[in-house]
């Protein structure tokens, strides 16, 4: 079967939807063979682990060498847990790689305002740091009512995040504890 590029795009949209929803009853093998060739010609393969539940399925990402953007994702056939298979969420990871609804700017909502404003990172981190310091210094309790040493910041709380990597989680808790925060919680509690 010879496919023109236009034919390919037409069928390929259906094929990828089929991956997510499965079982359309159409033989896509010629398309898949062509897609494979296209994908491997210009792409770099990167293994990762799915971001959803904790089964820990392997996913392979194909990144376009020219644009640096992920162009395709699939189950990692070599992975001992999933052997290439993925659930609907895992199979949709490509749509997370390319998603126009993502917020990719720093936003700020002022007191009593009804809208977001776009801001710069440098400004936001400095402003947050000022608030952390102000609140911490105002609410740091060195001794509790019984006179016991607690060195605790009562005014700040944090939730999150099981969505971070181990290294980020560890670093985050170290920061929170150095600030004296004890209201530290995340997804494991709920």
């Amino acid at each position: 079967m010879k496919l023109t590029r236009r034919d390919f795009l037409k069928v390929s949209g259906a094929a990828t939807a089929g991956l997510a929803l499965s079982g359309l009853g159409i033989d896509f093998s010629p398309v898949e063979a062509y897609a494979w060739e296209l994908r491997t010609r210009e792409a770099k393969e990167t293994p990762t682990i799915c971001c959803y539940c904790a089964v820990g399925c392997g996913i392979l990402c194909q990144t376009d060498k020219k644009t640096g953007q992920v162009i395709y994702t699939e189950g990692d056939a070599d992975h001992p847990i999933n052997g290439g298979s993925l659930c609907a969420k895992g199979a949709s990871v490509y749509q997370l790689a390319r998603n126009d609804k993502r917020v990719t700017n720093v936003l700020y909502r002022a007191p009593n305002s009804d809208k977001w404003q776009v801001k710069k990172w440098d400004w936001a981190l400095k402003e947050i740091a000022k608030r952390v310091k102000k609140t911490r210094d105002a609410s740091l309790v060195e001794k509790n009512e019984q006179g016991q040493v607690v060195n605790r910041c009562n005014g700040i709380a944090s939730v999150g995040s099981a969505a971070m990597d181990n290294e980020e989680c560890w670093l985050y808790q170290a920061m929170l504890r150095s600030l004296g925060i004890v209201y530290i919680e995340h997804q494991a509690r709920i």
């Binding site: 904790a54 969420k89 290294e167």
Partner: protein, 803 residues
């Protein structure tokens, strides 16, 4: 039980189906008939919140029909221990109950000790005060009729499940449990899991291939984030957070380092001081000095008896006790129980930081339903973070495999990796403290190790190496000298004198002198049981099945030689093992020889199987929990009945409850006559912040719905596909009705009880007509041990819209 693996952890179910193909029996016990049920050999319905009644009935069945694995029970569980005379269970309460304090004095549950300080035992299991007999007596009340009247499970189904599961209590068979939030989110959550742990210990199913009690964790790294101590009650590596009552490191170590007088007990937690000191060295480096308690004083301390958990946190915020808040990769405006309370609480803050991929109901709470932005002062900073495809690092799955993943593209737009945000934010904070000579208590901030960047960017390898641990000075151990800065090989080498730094002792070995073990991709599996020991790395010390010393008989030979996990190999002379023996197979729970020689004689150099338990045995009797040493059925705090046939106590007497005006609970109230529960669907994840924005997924599951039985639909005049209003004492929600045969009414204590269920993935922000969060309905009450909210059983009403 407590999970719907086929839909919520679909790829885990791939392995269930493989087991089924090999002749395994699949049992599904669940309030709803789901896709897991469709694949089950036996399906049994039960009313939400009655798992202990169900499983208590199974314990009674196992004991009375002698289905337990006797040798395992005697050698590896505390069945033979004698409990002290003060222990009693009466009228639904355990001894030591203090109604005023809503707490138990667990000293009344202590074991009777012999003159050496080791618990007394009766290996015949006949002593009326031994654990086995107390347990038999405790569950004698859990007869089929009573269990069925509480759970609503037909008696035939109970018998089928009991017979099938308890048939695994023989050496050649294995039974496993896959549970999820269906067990945790109850006011008896921990005891739900305790009940199955008792069953698995009775049946000899712990530590063996195909056995265990498996938590199907819901977040890709919720195992790792818990390991890292991102919780109010634990530091990294499951070390409790210090409290005000423990002013010095010595006080802390005294309270939390268990001791055992039994020479056969490994009592692994006796090593806790090494782990705490090494952690403090990882935090504070040279500033953590031996003569200053290694900066223990710099760790914040909660007040004794006060909780800082999820429910408490939002209660404090609601009561205007908090000013600043980080919602990092979380959406509490939809994810926590009693979301209306949470949403109002957010308006009491001065400032909030939301770190996320997408706009969400927490970040934009100020423009949510019923909110008036002009009256809400909270400043909100939204920081866009990178997706998992845009960064490198490790995550830990439900099987404790820490798997390294790699960056496939650069962070989109202005988004940053979480690691960079944390790293840079702390630099900014520290700079302010460096400039302000009058800043309050600056030392922990000024001295925190923060050398985690390469080219000024967060470097996950540097943190991973600190988590693993390194030598802080040249140190000789035996005939080998370790150089300052060298990675520590494994946690057995950690020290309590400051010569090692280790961020999280259970991850020691993950990134050692051999390199990044989490990145390994070698599929060699010589175990034959799918351990894949060279694929990634599992904590602790790459052990794939914990408590694997229980998979062998006391002489170290596998109970089931066809499914060997570990086996002791040594030369034998005159019926005794000679020195120099080794374990083959999985990494054993310690190197010590097995309990007995081939001729049955006891060995003094052996250790008991359950090395993390102070006494070395699996706990059939568990005196360490807050709400009782044996699980007891209590109704959910919001329930459809006013009597508990098992005892005079209706609900968990020490369940976590709160007192704000938003914390109403209404049992047996005619305004809320139906049992409600929440769950997930395959296509969405958590509050749906990510999955609602995936076009394929939102097309498949576009909006919140409520499932109800045909009987209830008839009763309320509701047709399939109609809009209905569901109400609880805490909130209401408009949803689409799905009228289905998958749900059936229960017969509870002679009454028909209806149940409805809703998925929890939706929120007002997107998609426009997707509806809102099911957690508007759930109660902010919870388990007394974990303080996890009771989201899985509560009371609601359902009305046709406009009726």
């Amino acid at each position: 039980m407590g999970s719907n693996a086929a839909e919520t952890h679909p790829v885990s179910f791939r392995w269930v189906m493989k087991a089924k193909d090999k002749g395994g029996t699949l049992i599904h016990v669940d309030p709803r008939y789901t896709r897991t049920s469709t694949k089950a050999d036996i399906y049994a319905p039960l009313r939400p919140g009655t798992d202990i009644a169900f499983l208590g009935g199974m314990i009674k069945y196992i004991i009375e029909n002698k289905k337990y694995f006797l040798d395992y029970v005697i050698d590896y569980t505390n069945a033979s221990y004698i409990v002290g005379e003060k222990y009693e269970f009466k009228d639904g309460l355990f001894s030591g109950f203090n109604a005023e304090k809503k707490a138990y004095d667990s000293s009344t549950w202590a074991y009777a000790m012999d003159e050496k300080g080791v618990p007394k035992k009766d290996l015949s299991l006949q002593d009326p005060h031994c654990v086995f007999q107390l347990m038999k007596n405790h569950y004698s009340r859990y007869d089929l009729d009573t269990v069925s009247s509480v759970t609503g499970t037909p008696k035939d189904d109970l018998m089928k499940v009991f017979a099938a599961f308890s048939s695994t209590g023989v050496p050649g068979k294995a039974g496993t449990i896959m549970y999820a939030m269906g067990w945790c989110q109850h006011s008896v959550g921990v005891q739900n899991i305790r009940t199955i742990s008792i069953i698995q210990a009775l049946l000899g199913n712990m530590g063996i291939a195909g056995g265990g009690v498996n938590a199907l964790r819901g977040e890709s790294n919720v195992q790792g984030s818990t390991d890292a101590g991102l919780l109010f009650h634990i530091l990294p590596g499951y070390n409790p957070t210090p409290t005000a009552a423990l002013p010095t490191l010595a006080d802390y170590n005294k309270k939390y380092t268990p001791s055992s007088k039994d020479p056969l007990s490994a009592n692994w937690w006796q090593n806790r001081p090494k782990y705490i000191v090494s952690m403090l060295k990882a935090f504070y480096g040279d500033a953590a000095k031996p003569d200053d308690d290694f900066a223990y004083n710099w760790l914040p301390k909660g007040d004794e008896g006060k909780y800082y958990g999820w429910l408490d946190l939002f209660d404090a915020m609601y009561n205007k006790q908090l000013k600043g808040f980080f919602a990092w990769g979380m959406n509490p405006a939809c994810s926590g129980a009693n979301s209306n309370k949470t949403r109002e609480a957010l308006a009491n803050l001065e400032w909030m930081v939301s770190v996320n991929l997408f706009d969400n109901e927490t970040a934009s709470f100020w423009k949510g339903p019923g909110m008036k932005p002009g009256k809400i002062k909270t400043e909100v900073f939204f920081l866009p973070c990178a997706t998992f495809l845009e960064k490198e690092g490790s995550i830990s799955n439900s099987g404790r495999w820490a798997q390294w993943r790699y960056k496939a593209q650069e962070p989109e737009g202005m988004s940053k990796r979480d690691g960079d945000i944390i790293y840079q934010l702390f630099l900014q904070i520290r700079e302010l403290y460096e400039k302000d000579k009058k800043a309050k208590f600056p030392n922990p901030i000024l001295n925190l190790n923060w050398d985690y960047a390469t080219d000024r960017k967060f470097d996950p390898h540097l943190v991973a190496k600190t988590i693993n641990g390194y030598w802080t000075k040249d140190t000789a151990v035996g005939d080998k000298t370790f150089r300052k800065g060298e990675q520590v090989a494994a946690f057995a080498m950690l020290k309590d004198d400051g010569s090692t730094a280790c961020g999280n002792w259970i991850y020691c070995q993950s990134y050692n002198q051999d390199g990044n073990n989490m990145a390994r991709r070698d599929k060699t599996d010589y175990s034959g049981i799918g351990l894949y020991p060279k694929w990634s790395w599992a904590w602790p010390v790459n052990r794939r099945i914990i408590y694997n010393r229980a998979s062998v008989d006391p002489a170290g030979k596998p109970w089931n030689p066809k499914r060997t996990v570990v086996e002791y190999i040594a030369d034998i002379k005159d019926g005794k093992y000679l020195p120099g023996g080794t374990w083959k197979g999985d990494v054993p729970d310690g190197p010590w020889p097995p309990l007995r020689n081939p001729d049955g004689s006891a060995r003094e150099d052996a250790k008991l199987a359950f090395i993390m338990k102070p006494d070395g045995y699996a706990s059939l009797f568990g005196p360490g929990l807050k709400d009782g040493p044996f699980p007891e059925h209590y109704e959910p705090l919001e329930c459809p009945v006013d009597k508990n046939p098992f005892g005079a106590q209706l609900t968990n007497p020490i369940a976590a409850t709160l007192k704000s005006d938003k914390d109403s609970i209404m049992s047996c109230d005619p305004r809320f006559p139906f049992v409600g529960t929440t769950y997930r669907v395959s296509e969405h994840w958590q509050t749906g912040v990510i999955t609602r924005h995936m076009p394929w997924l939102i097309e498949a599951e576009p909006q919140v719905f409520i499932e109800m039985s045909e009987q209830l639909a008839r009763l309320k005049g509701i047709s399939n596909g109609e809009k209905v209003i569901v109400q609880s004492p805490r909130g209401s929600l408009e949803v689409v009705a799905i009228v289905t045969k998958r749900l059936k009414p229960f017969t509870i204590q002679g009454q028909e009880v209806h149940m409805v269920g809703l998925p929890l993935h939706f929120g007002w922000i997107y998609p426009k007509n997707g509806g809102d969060s099911a957690n508007l309905l759930t109660p902010s009450v919870g388990d007394p041990n974990t303080r996890i909210p009771e989201s899985k059983a509560f009371m609601v009403n359902v009305l046709k819209k406009g009726a």
